[in-house]
């Protein structure tokens, strides 16, 4: 009790979350995104093809359909590129930060002592590139959970270990 002090906190001297250097996602994750988009659009195209094949009346709209299809494809790729570039994560001593967003820049911060549990997710395509997604869950519901994709499996395992260690210690 004698050692107890209660100094005024100088809020300007606190560590700033907005100045943290974010780590970017693994470059291979961009390939994963592209492949996923490719598969999606491939299935989409097959569906369209079948539709045209069985419904010959629609063939007159062939040009319109292909224009819309390519516009959708290009926008999707562009947007995912921006999203990929903007995504970043950082692990500080006491909290984890994740940045994302296309038009808005969102930064979510979860202190380790609020983490409830952690999950590692390996998608089918990601696994070929040795990448995993880390999911961090809090008690605040789905809007306050974060999912960091594009992390190398080994690093993801380490991060999981780090998170679990931090949760356990309770400061």
């Amino acid at each position: 009790m004698e050692n107890f002090t209660n100094e005024i906190i100088d809020t300007t001297q606190l560590p700033r979350f907005e100045e943290v250097e974010f780590s970017v996602l693994h470059p291979n994750y961009w390939k994963v995104t592209l492949l996923n988009a490719f598969f999606f659009f491939l299935i989409f195209a097959i569906g369209l093809g079948l539709l045209l094949y069985f419904n010959r009346g629609l063939v007159v709209f062939l040009v319109d359909i292909s224009v819309i299809y390519s516009v959708l494809l290009i926008t999707a790729v562009l947007l995912s590129r921006i999203a990929f570039k903007k995504k970043g994560f950082a692990f500080r001593t006491h909290d984890v930060l994740y940045r994302y967003g296309i038009i808005a820049t969102n930064t979510i911060v979860i202190p380790y002592n609020r983490v409830q549990h952690v999950a590692l997710h390996e998608g089918f395509v990601s696994r070929f590139f040795g990448l995993a997604k880390i999911e961090v869950f809090t008690a605040g519901g789905s809007s306050s959970d974060i999912q960091i994709p594009g992390i190398e499996m080994k690093q993801a395992e380490n991060i999981k270990q780090l998170l679990m260690g931090k949760i356990q210690k309770k400061l």
Binding site: I103, H121, F124, S143, K170
Partner: protein
């Protein structure tokens, strides 16, 4: 014999059957339109192909179910005190739950599980609704053993809880320190929920009108004649009467609803918890534990301010399955001093509004755009290009603009975020003004957000996540917001505040 669960193990092998049925259900649900098509064409189809198709489908599901079973393993990691579940065939997920975070382990049995003699074990941590981990097929013996291992760390807690319950029973008949009088309930009934009441009435009148019209047309009345009659004779009088009727029925409905629901509202204090009981026909009672309270909303409109009453809504974080999660508890119609009294019990001190953050004027511009300019453009475009008849109703436009304009303006003016050392208070609302109160210690996570064209204007938004819901404040001074975020993070990370 004691299982140690250290080695990754699969579910009971009979679980394949369960997987098969659940997969069949899932796929069946996804593919039923296809199935429907075939049912209608059943005569045109070659029966042989159909049977081959069905057999193929079932075999595929069987393989998928078997692979699911093979890939689902769970184990206890003793070194790190973790419970780990691996699942997924192509997309693999590994869920890691720390033992001391586990709040509940439930063992259930559905009908199908009963038939094949297995149990389901669900692991639940605090907060979110969903089950964090679920093992679908496990023998009763293993389930009990695993539950015991998972709950080992909990024993201390559960012991203290049970002792609490005992003492609860001792003075179950605690003396209420506050009760809401009939008069207050009348006041609440008269002043609240106009919009809800209006909605009810509109729905009611619309159905009655529609039905009576059908009825009348059956008897060959001339629709137009009735309309003309309504139009010409005493139109002003009837409008006045209808308005009066609507208003008075809103009031009466509200009154009856409030009185029935909250009659004889009593609040008692018991071992630091609040005990509420209310209701005319059936008495409901609830317990509020102050440490579990996440968000308290104080609501008041202009009339209620004049009558010195306000409404409290309390959101708790719950971990039990039996209680409603994130349940909202309402305390209607207490006066100012009583509400301060209750808030003091919940927060240990009366919340005060600290530093004020205002939204940027762009928020006002944006809401005007969204709720006035956009609908009007739609209206005029529709009237011009599609249905010129609509132009007859153009006199509604100024009324709409003024009415919505006032609401938007007051909504903007009341939109504030107050911050001091112990409380964050978000004020919002045009007519019913809400004050959402949270303590910084109850924060789970914080999201800050900024649109790229707002960078130079230095404005941005913040969402504060708690176990009882989110609070967000848009387009405020971003530097200040960031400063507060840093402060709150510092406070959360340097203390082990008990958020539930």
């Amino acid at each position: 014999m004691e299982e140690d669960f250290k080695q990754p193990q699969r579910q009971s092998s009979i679980g394949v059957l369960l997987m098969f049925v659940t997969t069949l259900q899932q796929w069946g649900r996804a593919l039923w339109p296809v199935a429907l098509v075939y049912v209608f064409k059943i005569d045109e189809l070659n029966k042989g192909y159909l049977y081959i198709g069905i057999a193929f489908f079932l075999i595929v599901i069987g393989i998928v179910a078997y692979l699911k079973y093979l890939n689902f393993t769970f184990y206890l990691d003793d070194e790190n005190d973790e419970f780990v579940i691996n699942e997924g065939i192509l997309n693999k997920t590994k869920t890691i739950i720390q033992l001391n975070k586990i709040q509940q382990v439930n063992i259930n049995q559905s009908l199908l599980q009963r038939v094949i003699g297995v149990y389901e074990l669900d692991v639940d941590t605090a907060g979110s609704n969903k089950k964090e981990g679920s093992i679908k097929a496990i023998s009763h013996f293993l389930a009990l053993g695993l539950k015991a291992r998972l709950m080992e760390n909990e024993q201390v807690d559960s012991y203290t809880e049970s002792s609490e319950v005992e003492s609860d029973e001792v003075d179950a008949e605690a003396r209420p320190f506050m009760s809401i009088s009939f008069l207050s309930l009348l006041k609440v009934g008269v002043t609240s929920n106009y919009v809800k009441g209006l909605g009810l009435i509109v729905a009611f009148v619309a159905t009655v009108f529609e039905n009576s019209k059908n009825f009348i047309s059956q008897y060959d009345f001339d629709d137009e004649k009735i309309d003309a009659y309504l139009d010409k004779s005493r139109i002003i009088q009837s409008v006045a009467i209808i308005t009066f009727l609507i208003l008075s029925s809103i009031l009466i409905i509200n009154l009856v609803r409030v009185v029935f629901r909250y009659f004889d509202y009593k609040i008692a204090r018991q071992n630091g918890s609040l005990l509420l009981s209310f209701g005319l026909l059936s008495t409901k009672s609830t317990i509020i534990k102050p440490e579990k309270v996440q968000i308290v909303t104080v609501t008041r409109n202009f009339f209620q301010k004049k009558m010195n009453i306000l409404e409290l809504k309390i959101k708790q974080a719950t971990s039990g399955e039996k209680e409603d999660r994130k349940s909202v508890i309402e305390i209607p119609g207490c006066n100012e001093s009583e509400s301060v009294e209750i808030l003091k019990l919940l927060f240990l001190k009366a919340p005060e509004k600290g530093m004020m953050l205002k939204p940027n004027f762009r928020k006002l511009v944006f809401s005007i755009f969204l709720s006035i300019i956009l609908p009007l453009t739609g209206f005029f475009a529709f009237a011009k290009f599609i249905q010129p008849m609509f132009m007859d109703y153009v006199y509604v436009v100024p009324i709409y603009v003024v009415f919505v304009g006032i609401i938007v303006y007051f909504g903007f003016r009341n939109n504030r975020l107050y911050v001091n050392d112990d409380f964050i208070i978000k004020q919002s609302g045009a007519w019913d003004v809400d004050n959402k109160i949270i303590e910084p210690g109850k924060i789970q996570a914080i999201t800050t957000s900024q649109l790229f064209w707002h960078k130079s204007a230095d404005i941005g938004s913040i969402t504060i996540h708690t176990a009882g819901g989110n609070i967000s404040f848009q387009l405020g001074d971003y530097s200040k917001i960031k400063q507060y975020v840093n402060l709150w993070l510092y406070e959360m990370e340097t203390s082990n505040s008990n958020w539930m």
